[in-house]
């Protein structure tokens, strides 16, 4: 039951956001669609969040969103600067970054936010959660990546562990 709510509630919110219509008829349709889809779902092993930990989860989630948003902005601007530089200052390579996370979801979210951060993009992930990351500037990324990853990992572990 709680699994069903976990899937159908976000679906319901997305449906309302996309239709932008709060009339009762639309609420009923949205609820039916959300519950229907949650019944069709494959068996997924979602991590549940206990109710008493919800405030902590939300606080960590909001901070995480701000960290990622900052990464998106810096990533866009710094990559644009490299593109427009007449000398095209590239020093590309693939470096290994341990995600430090045990769960698959944690590793996936780490890989997602690394791919959004400046000059880095995950190419492959192995079984132990090591992320092989392509960098535009290897030396610079290697200097900052450990710090950035421990910040992300800290927030992710507050959310899911």
């Amino acid at each position: 039951m709680s699994r069903m709510i976990q899937i159908s509630l976000p679906l319901f919110i997305v449906y309302l956001a996309l239709t932008g219509n709060l009339e009762p008829a639309n609420l009923v349709v949205g609820a039916l669609v959300a519950v229907g889809i949650s019944l069709l779902r494959p068996q997924m092993d979602l991590q549940s969040v206990a109710l008493k930990r919800l405030p902590r989860f939300l606080w960590a989630a909001i901070r995480y969103i701000f960290v990622v948003a900052g990464d998106v902005i810096r990533g866009g601007i710094s990559t644009a600067r490299i593109v427009l530089d007449p000398a095209l200052p590239l020093n590309p390579g693939i470096i290994a970054i341990p995600s430090g996370s045990i769960s698959e979801l944690g590793t996936a979210l780490s890989a997602h936010s690394i791919s959004l951060s400046p000059g880095e993009m995950v190419v492959a992930i192995d079984d132990r959660g090591v992320m092989y990351t392509h960098c535009l500037n290897v030396d610079e990324s290697e200097k900052f990546v450990a710090e950035a990853q421990s910040l992300r990992q800290n927030l992710l572990s507050r959310m899911f562990e």
Binding site: G76, V83, L84, L90, I94, S115, M121, A124, L136
Partner: protein, 114 residues
Amino acid sequence: METVLQIAALALMVIGTLFSFIGVIGFIRMPDAYTRLHATGKVSVFGIVFLLLAAILLTPLSLWKGLVLILFVLLGSPSVAHSIASAAYRIGLPMSNPARDDLKGKMEQGDGKD
């Protein structure tokens, strides 16, 4: 109020178009598949987010619909960049002047001719 909104939307549109344009320039200037993905996957996405923000202000697109679209773009683009890069490495596309390659020998690779 109307004018202020229109000016803000115009500014967002100019920024968005500029970043999309820089993304295309990057795609042309970068030397190999991996670095090109940085240009399209980050700079262009930045441009799309700004264009969507302008669309929220200027067109009948509602705020929530726009924010959900931005969320989907931000969720989708790194996944797409990752899967293209992964596929490129798997078929053995070479990097131009790699400084180092920690992944070498750890993944089954083709000869780059597929």
